[in-house]
Symmetry: C2
Subunit: 330 residues, 2 copies
Amino acid sequence: MGISAIGIDLGGTAVKIGLVDRFDGLVEQVQLDTEADEGPEHVINRLAEGVRLMQSHAFAPVSGIGVGAPGSVDWERTTMRYPPNFPAWGVVNVAEGLRKRVDIDGPIIVENDANVAGLGSAFFGAGQPFDSFLMVTLGTGVGGAIIHNKKLFRGTTGAAGEFGHLSIDYAGPPNRSGTTGSIEAYLGQRFLSRYARYRLLRNPDTLLHQTAGEDMEDLTPKLLFEAAQAGDVAAQEILAWAGHKLGRGMGSLVNVLDIRKVVVGGGVSAAGDFILEPARKALLDGVMPGLRDGVELVQETLGNQVGMLGAASLAFAYLDEQDSTRTPAP
Amino acid sequence: MGISAIGIDLGGTAVKIGLVDRFDGLVEQVQLDTEADEGPEHVINRLAEGVRLMQSHAFAPVSGIGVGAPGSVDWERTTMRYPPNFPAWGVVNVAEGLRKRVDIDGPIIVENDANVAGLGSAFFGAGQPFDSFLMVTLGTGVGGAIIHNKKLFRGTTGAAGEFGHLSIDYAGPPNRSGTTGSIEAYLGQRFLSRYARYRLLRNPDTLLHQTAGEDMEDLTPKLLFEAAQAGDVAAQEILAWAGHKLGRGMGSLVNVLDIRKVVVGGGVSAAGDFILEPARKALLDGVMPGLRDGVELVQETLGNQVGMLGAASLAFAYLDEQDSTRTPAP
């Protein structure tokens, strides 16, 4: 067993805390209810308990803690800002809260969960072979991260990588924030479900009338995948439609970033090739000919461990940087 | 006078060679015909002559040479690859060719001209106040560069920044390379001229029937600007249409890169606020609310000196990197 860190995947309903070995990956883990509505103090106390439990499993002092958190995180990577699904949290310095409660000699770093997924993929997942890649997470919303030369590209304030807000149609449908034709307006769960519902309501030939109710109010991406897998052509066509939009956005971004690898993770990616095959084709069609060599779209394989592994990777990446004596301490 | 470098702006018809002081900017310059059809040896000989002339004006040894060149340049930044408008050039190592011919103790760096414009803006132009910005050059085509923390973001092969190939409409018109709805398919000179011609052919109220010929075969962006400036409403509307497309592309990219400053240069940007005012509005509309603080679009002010200044900046940037002892010599 080599150098290890603790990775915390802080979600709105559940928190996963893992002891992660740099080379062997996830060694121990515990899952708790977040209990976000009990407030930040309560939740950070729970995180600290989990950290101590993981420390008790470690053979040597752990070298740092990483936290993947939803929503916006500040540039210094200590503080969550108005996280969605954390009622009344406002601005919370999670790193400082943990630092007070746990005995650890090393960095404590908080980062946006999509960025954490990208780093997890780069260190432990499908992104390992690539120096640079675009991470796309298909979940309730569409998130993303840009990994460039094995590091997170963070932009000006740490918010870079919001692939879900890339627009592929300036006159397209609005998303939650009002921007038009963004990838999220096609592939976000609510948007995809709504599109499928309208498209299928008058189609009596689809299985989904049985599984999603006659008026299809219960239609979800999951039901779409199941129907597609059962051979339902209408469901397959809708997933292909979504995959096409996804690929077009990726191709557009490949042209601008000259980053030719894409890793897709998150729940919706479980639809696999029903979405990803059309996405691959649209991706290549959208890339200018001079950049097509080496373009590749692969699926993340880490499943829901990616959050813990990626969070621990925040600490590993920090320590790598320290080795090259460049970055100030967080 | 401080540290100086020689900047070469190698265009298809003319080459500009300047002696550039790190702090005072352009000190001396000479312009030659490129004579590209005489072949690479001939042209590199002419470049070397120009370099020697500039050296003769320098009070101290110049510290390097930068070359801005059209088309694709290799990752090592020595070699032009199949440059457009350089008949039968193929693959030409310009840096090596110059190194053999001139007596200079310092880097010789070749870089794509849009990237050079970005660096020139960062060191000497409208980009100086910004740590990170998106450079957009509106010329015959639409080029671009990403400056991140005062450095060029080069992607995987050095081709990053092709803003003209960002798509804003997956079902939009194809550009030269066949990708659809790219910024260049709206704002490239030929595309903009063609759009304006079709839109105006049956509009008898526009000045352009007089300046661009009855069938408008001679319509150019320049004639459009002149008509707009003379108060022609039809011409103004077309430029606003183009500006709107431009801004939408910028907004989309701001969301993904979290880089909130945009500098626009190149010939077409001479249309100024007829294009840039609508672009500013569309840019803000396209940026997600959480990233709108500090979004800014400014016009480059260096005019056609930006090529020489940017090329010399390649050498300055290289020397800065050397100071921080990180990058291998080119």
